[in-house]
Point group: C2
Amino acid sequence: MGATKTEHFTNKQNEMAILAKALGHPARIAIVEYLIKVNSCICGDIVNELPLAQPTVSQHLKELKNAGLIKGSIEGNAICYCIDEKAIEKLQNYFGNISTKLTDKKNKCC
Amino acid sequence: MGATKTEHFTNKQNEMAILAKALGHPARIAIVEYLIKVNSCICGDIVNELPLAQPTVSQHLKELKNAGLIKGSIEGNAICYCIDEKAIEKLQNYFGNISTKLTDKKNKCC
DNA sequence: ATTTAATATTGCAATATTACGATTAAAATT
DNA sequence: AATTTTAATCGTAATATTGCAATATTAAAT
């Protein structure tokens, strides 16, 4: 026990859970927000923006990358990071869809 | 170490991270989707829908409730669960906002 | 009052996450 | 070539999560 039983859920469910989980930490939310704020790809500079040690930030970046939320490309001795818009789109569609379904119905039982 | 350093991030960042984290597990995604699918509040019945033991489901429900994603009210000897629309709205707004900011900019450096 | 049904809680083992110091790797600069 | 810069990786401690059997709780039904 201890490990998530992904095999019992649909691909879509696992995919959304992976994206959500990646954003389930304030540092990773902060990284994504910073990438949006600077409005471009960032080469270096991310570590200085966060109140965490360099290896910790590196680890968070890796998780965001594994989840497909950011892309990173080597740019000399720095790394260029930016948001992967497709992932954000998926999240937006997902919650937009849920929102629509919720407002469609009118049975207020709670 | 091992605990998230929430104190270094903004309230909003922590709030979004809590919501995302709650959805960062396929079982909890499945619960939310089920609540939407049946299109009403559900009294009982959730445990049978999931491929997990009753205590595990109960725990996932508790986490969704703590994060503010679902509401539960006692209804006889069953519990009536439903989505808290405000939380979904927050998520939709958040990702909608990010999406807008991303499509606004045109600097494709990646 | 007993039994039944639905859900929560407890306790625990397995695993995952978070954080960081130390180290390494790779490229730019001197 | 030696140094500096930037970021990844390793190792490890602290903590959190996942999952479930056993048990408790609560209210309805008998």
